[in-house]
């Protein structure tokens, strides 16, 4: 079980490896790393290989109007105090991002869900089709401008 000293050690560890390339912030719960769509894959690779982060827990998207923000929450199993959140912003008119399924296979269906409900395309995904809505559904409902008729 990790406590505060483990967490601080983990944060310093993350900073030591990543500080020169990525923007890092800290709050009581997570260490936030900001990447852009070009550096996302190499960041994930570094996290897995050098920091031992082998568990991608959650992957989701938020619609902020002009842009979408992708959020990834990652941990290590067995737990070592590291709680990371990777954030990437992408423009609304070019909602594309590389898929991380090659590094974390658990992203498979979670990325399909983001495509289904938010309309963000993931390049390199093995099976980029809708998962929760019927294939002939028009629109991406979780977008803020989605209007339901009837």
């Amino acid at each position: 079980m990790a406590n505060n000293t483990d967490r601080d050690k983990a944060f310093n560890n993350v900073r030591a490896i990543l500080e020169d390339k990525y923007e890092i912030a800290n709050d009581p719960f997570f260490t936030y790393i900001t990447a852009n769509s070009d550096s996302l894959l190499s960041l994930m690779q570094t996290l897995k290989e050098q920091l031992g982060i082998n568990y991608l827990s959650n992957l989701t998207a938020v619609d902020y109007g002009e842009e979408f923000e992708m959020v990834y929450h990652l941990y290590a199993i067995p737990d070592n105090g590291q709680k990371l959140a990777v954030k990437t912003k992408i423009p609304r008119n070019r909602a594309e991002l590389p898929s991380v399924t090659s590094i974390y296979p658990t992203a498979d269906w979670q990325e399909r869900e983001v495509y289904d409900l938010m309309g963000i395309l993931f390049s390199g995904h093995p099976n980029m089709i809708r998962v929760l809505l019927p294939d002939d559904f028009v629109g991406h409902p979780l977008r803020k401008d989605f209007k339901k008729e009837g």
């Binding site: 991608l56 959650n58 938020v62 929450h73 199993i77 737990d79 658990t106 269906w109 869900e113 929760l132």
Partner: protein, 366 residues
């Protein structure tokens, strides 16, 4: 020369295994499964979009309808996420009540697992026994919250009402009878020859594959990895309790069943400790009637649900409605490994695999 073709059989979405609307397209080569393609979304109720039009407290009943077999667990996860977002402290007595209700929910959910595994494999009596014991837990839920199945008992800052007098003898007698119940399940279900033939060595989930695919909960523990969010990242007051994490060896269907039966025992252990340690006092903290999340503040809170790691990602926008609610559903992620463990097996093993992965379609489709 006789040639065979691959044949596709649809299992579900209307199917007697009551895991909800799960559709598996089994590509068969005779009796051997070549692939099992999973189609979800038959129970997609657009909960995340609805959340943006509700207040934080109004979403609590929707959270309980996510994992409807263990209703206090998703509501607990959600109110704890809201408390993290707003910096609300929970009163002591409510913390203990929450633990008792959460563990009772876990037992109720695992009882449905054992019963539905039995009936899916043809042993109807198993379902009757498990539901008989589950009715005692549902009575306790009804005593405290008024609802048997979908109790919105948790509130931000505490619980909605204190435990009534008649709750304590009921829970004490349930805990006392639990070893007898577990012996009965072991004798009737786990020890049954036919069930063992249909579960031992079937649907083996390799621990590295499980980890790579983000499988959590009893499924991961049955494959040999002892990871439980209650120990790794404790929430509420779980660090005050002394309990074990049962771990399996082979990662087959039998191990997934045995791990859950052992977890029922451990939950009973936790409830006993919580009843002993519970102090007197208020059950609801001083929280303002109108809850507003700070604009731009976000939180991701995870709990150990009966199916695995259940996470809630909340973003506030300065008003009473959340800007975004995302539910990280363990059943959605766990079902990803169904094709992997079914390939090469027989058609009937798909049923055993679905039953032992324990998906709850309400949570997986949201």
């Amino acid at each position: 020369m006789i040639k065979t073709d691959l044949y596709t059989i649809n299992i579900g979405p209307q199917h007697p295994s009551t895991h909800g609307g799960l559709h598996v397209e089994a590509v068969m080569d005779g009796e051997i499964v070549r692939d099992a393609i999973v189609h979800l979304g038959y129970v997609h109720r657009s909960v995340e979009k609805i959340a943006e039009a509700r207040t934080y407290t109004q979403f609590i009943p929707y959270a309980s309808r996510l994992d409807y077999l263990a209703t206090h667990l998703p509501t607990l996860g959600y109110v704890q996420a809201v408390e993290k977002l707003m910096g609300v402290e929970v009163v002591e007595r409510a913390q203990y009540i929450r633990v008792i209700m959460a563990e009772l929910s876990r037992i109720a959910s695992h009882l449905v697992f054992v019963g539905s595994l039995a009936i899916d494999l043809g042993a109807t009596t198993g379902l009757i026994y498990c539901f008989r014991d589950r009715e005692r837990i549902l009575d306790m839920f009804e005593m405290t919250s008024g609802q048997r199945l979908l109790a919105s008992y948790m509130r931000v800052g505490g619980v909605s009402a204190d435990l009534p007098e008649e709750f304590f003898p009921a829970v004490q007698s349930f805990i006392k009878d639990m070893p007898g119940m577990i012996d009965e399940y072991n004798g009737l279900i786990t020890g049954n020859e036919i069930l063992q033939a249909r579960c031992k060595g079937i649907g083996v989930l390799n621990p590295d594959v499980a980890l790579a695919y983000g499988v959590t909960g009893p499924n991961l523990r049955a494959s040999g990895i002892a990871y439980d969010v209650r120990k790794a990242d404790p929430y509420g007051i779980y660090e005050r309790f002394d309990f074990e994490i049962p771990v399996g060896e082979h990662g087959d269907c039998m191990d997934r069943l045995v791990v859950r039966i052992k977890e029922i025992e451990q939950s009973g252990n936790i409830i006993r400790q919580a009843l002993e340690q519970m102090p007197e006092g208020e059950v609801r903290g001083k929280v303002s009637k109108v809850l507003k999340g700070e604009k731009g503040k976000e939180v991701y809170h995870r709990i150990e649900s009966s199916k695995g790691e259940l996470g809630f990602y909340l973003i506030g926008n300065g008003t009473e409605n959340p800007y975004r609610v995302h539910v990280r559903a363990p059943s959605f992620v766990n079902l990803m490994v169904l094709p992997l463990i079914s390939r090469g097996g027989k058609l009937q093993d798909i049923i055993a695999n679905i039953a032992t992965l324990d998906p709850v379609l309400g949570e997986s489709d949201r």
